[in-house]
Symmetry: C2
Subunit: 259 residues, 2 copies
């Protein structure tokens, strides 16, 4: 007669494992001795070896019991089913591993390379790190919403950087948000003037084509993001409204408020 520890040692498992198998009914509870200790016979050893053989092959514990007294056909079918599951699990892990290999620290974590190149270009142009990060977060939202189209937009964005007004705009905004500027700062007005001008130009060129409905949420998020990163972004929205444009990222004409 074996104690639980001896049984466990003989079959190469832990005592806890044996008790667990009792708990889930995989291995029948044996007789107890006077002290309440479990006493195992040789058949328990044989059962446990069979169980471990299946478990070691990756068979879920819940499916072992039925397999032990199944006919060969049923058994083979179960093996096929389990193998398929394991196969899928492996595939999942390997997909994750490929993702993992792509992971870069910094901006590249969630952005396509075209966008990170754009962000790096902004840094070269001395745009403040704070502004760049705000841009980056904006692009994260954009990439999440339009993952397939974002790459084709980037050349246009790069081209914009050839326009001295755009450069000046980034410069102004960098200064504004890095300082403790207040509402009446003349730089805010200059920035708003440039933005209105650019908006007017884009509008005239028919480039303003924002989808409606679902996209509205994404644009709202972009605007909200700006405000969350710096509450003063709200001023800029107000200044734009005064110039007849609503929104920050999605330009729309609104009636100019009475001055």
């Amino acid at each position: 007669m074996l104690t639980i520890g001896q049984l466990a040692a003989y079959t190469g498992v832990t005592v806890r494992t044996v008790r667990h198998y009792h708990q889930i009914g995989l291995l029948p509870e044996p007789e107890r001795d006077a002290a309440g200790y479990r006493k195992y016979g040789a058949t328990a050893v044989v059962s446990l070896i069979k169980i471990r053989t299946l478990a070691a092959a990756g068979v879920p514990l819940t499916q072992i019991r039925p397999m032990l007294d199944a006919d060969p056909a049923t058994f083979a079918e179960a093996v096929r089913r389990i193998d398929e599951q394991v196969r899928q699990e492996i595939a999942r892990l390997e997909a994750g591993r490929r993702q993992l290999a792509q992971l870069t620290a910094g901006d590249g974590l969630v952005l396509p390379p075209e966008v990170t190149a754009y962000l790096d270009r902004l840094r070269e142009l001395s745009v403040s790190e704070r502004m760049v990060r705000a841009e980056r977060d904006g692009w994260i939202l954009v990439s999440a919403r339009w993952p397939d189209r974002v790459r084709e937009w980037m050349p246009g964005k790069f081209a914009h950087l050839d326009d001295p007004r755009v450069i000046r705009l980034y410069e102004l905004l960098s200064e504004l948000f890095d300082s403790d500027a207040t509402t009446d700062d003349p730089r805010a007005h200059e920035a708003a003037d440039i933005m209105a001008e650019l908006a007017e130009q884009a509008y005239a060129a028919g480039e303003v084509d924002y989808g409606a409905g679902e996209d509205a949420l994404a644009f709202d998020l972009l605007d909200a993001l700006a405000v969350e990163s710096d509450p003063r972004a709200e001023w800029m929205r107000e200044l734009m409204r005064q110039r007849g444009w609503a929104g920050w990222n999605r330009m729309e004409r609104v009636p100019r408020p009475p001055t």
Copy 2:
């Protein structure tokens, strides 16, 4: 401002997932509105996207938080570590899958092919299925204890089957255990005579070399197994003792009891 459902939909996760991330402190709890609803801003969307990017690549949730604000070197190191873990997990599953492919229903589940061949041979010799199963369980114990040596023993076992006395012995035992024979059955005595004869022969040939110590347990298990499969096995042990042999599987000379 987004509700939890909108946030979840936008980032492609379930509401429960978002709450789980709050619970484990991976995503900060946002403000609540008057009704107690969580209200999310755009930064939450950005955070969640970053988190999902890492999680989808197989990074454990507990390790995501530190990685989000780690410098590139630390980040890369963490990626390497995790990749290594995933690699090992994949290796484990694939090992299991190979095991799975080897699994056969029936005797082959836990026994090397040489042994199953031996069992099949017994079946051909009209040994009763009950006896064969008892043999099989015995071999399972033996294979667990001496997994490397069992295969080299099998040729000897096969050779034994050429001895008519061995065949007769299997025949007698099959009959005995399949019937409701009692202690004084003459077949039991004939079987015991054959076994004593074979033991004597093996002993004379110096083939009796049972390790001591640890192996004792295995032999005790084998004897116990026989008794558990049919209590009448105990008689046979008694008959053998009368002929000067102790044990059932491990033959040892004992003083012959006074008759």
